[in-house]
C-alpha cells in the first residue's frame, strides 16, 4: 500500500472548508450587526478580494505539483520514500 502526496491535498481541503465556514460567519456578522459605513463595506470587499486572490494563487501552485508521488510506502517496511 502506498500513500501518495495527495493526502496533503485532502488535508488542505479540510482547512479550506474551515476557512470558508469561518469567513462566512464573520461576513454574516459584519453584514447583519455592522453599521452601513464605508469602512465596513471596504473591509468585507477587501477580505473577499484577498481571499479570492490567495486561493487562486494556491490552486495555481497546486496544478504544478505531482500529487501521485509516493509519500509512505508500506510495502517497504514502513519506509518513507
Amino acid at each position: 500500500m502506498v500513500i501518495t502526496l495527495i493526502i496533503f491535498y485532502y488535508i488542505f481541503l479540510v482547512f479550506l472548508a474551515f476557512f470558508a465556514l469561518y469567513s462566512l460567519f464573520n461576513i454574516f456578522h459584519l453584514l447583519v450587526f455592522g453599521f452601513f459605513t464605508a469602512t465596513n463595506v471596504f473591509i468585507v470587499l477587501a477580505y473577499l478580494a484577498v481571499s479570492f486572490l490567495l486561493i487562486s494563487f494556491i490552486f495555481s501552485q497546486f496544478n504544478t505539483f505531482n500529487w501521485q508521488q509516493p509519500f509512505i510506502d508500506f510495502n517497504n517496511f514502513f519506509t518513507i520514500s
Binding site: L5, F15, V32, F36
Partner: protein, 185 residues
C-alpha cells in the same frame, strides 16, 4: 447592515449624539502582531535554506512545505478577520435619552444593553499607562441604577471628553423632563 442613525426603541425626538468605537491603536496593535505572524514562515525558510539547503532540494519536501505555508496563511487571514469582527462590532451609542452598548464578546456571543441617562449615578474616565496617555485613549465606566450596574466603554478615544459629554447630555435630559411632565392641579 444597520443604518448609522438607527435607534432601537426610539422615543419621540430622541437623536444620536455620538457613536464610539475602540481607538485606532487597538486595531494597529492587533494587526502588528498578525504582521509578525505572517513574516514567521519567511524567516524560518530563510534560516533553514541557509543551514540545510538539501532539505529544499526534494520535490516532496517542497510540496509539503508549500501546502503547510498555504494552510498557515489561510488561518492567519481568517483569524485576522475574526479579530476585526469582534473588535469593530463593539460600538457604544449615546443618544439624547440613553446609552446603547453593543458588545461583541466573541464570534457567537453578543450583548446589547440600553441605559437611560436618568439612571446614571456616576461616570468615571480612566487612562492608565504611557500609551493611553500619549495617544489619548482609555476607559469610561458608568455606574447605573439599572439591572446592569456598570457599563464600560473600553479603549475609546478621548475618554475624559466623552465622560464630560455624557454628563452634559444627562443634565440636559434632566432639565427637559420637568417641562414635559403634567403638573397636578
Amino acid at each position: 447592515m444597520i443604518r448609522k442613525n438607527y435607534i432601537p426603541n426610539q422615543e419621540g425626538d430622541e437623536k444620536i449624539m455620538l457613536h464610539l468605537r475602540k481607538h485606532w491603536f487597538i486595531f494597529f496593535r492587533l494587526y502588528f502582531f498578525f504582521a509578525i505572524l505572517a513574516a514567521i514562515p519567511a524567516v524560518i525558510i530563510f534560516v533553514l535554506a541557509l543551514n540545510n539547503p538539501v532539505l529544499f532540494s526534494s520535490d516532496k519536501m517542497q510540496v509539503i512545505l508549500k501546502v503547510g505555508i498555504d494552510i498557515y496563511y489561510l488561518m492567519i487571514l481568517v483569524f485576522a478577520l475574526t479579530i476585526w469582527t469582534i473588535n469593530y462590532l463593539d460600538v457604544w451609542t449615546i443618544t439624547s435619552r440613553k446609552i446603547i452598548s453593543r458588545d461583541q464578546l466573541g464570534l457567537f456571543n453578543r450583548v446589547v444593553s440600553e441605559l437611560e441617562l436618568n439612571r446614571i449615578q456616576d461616570i468615571t474616565a480612566e487612562q492608565k499607562g504611557i500609551l493611553e496617555t500619549t495617544l489619548n485613549y482609555g476607559d469610561v465606566q458608568i455606574q447605573s441604577a439599572g439591572e446592569i450596574e456598570r457599563f464600560t466603554f473600553t479603549d475609546i478615544p478621548n475618554p475624559n471628553e466623552v465622560a464630560r459629554m455624557i454628563e452634559k447630555i444627562r443634565q440636559d435630559c434632566q432639565h427637559e423632563q420637568p417641562e414635559n411632565t403634567n403638573q397636578p392641579v
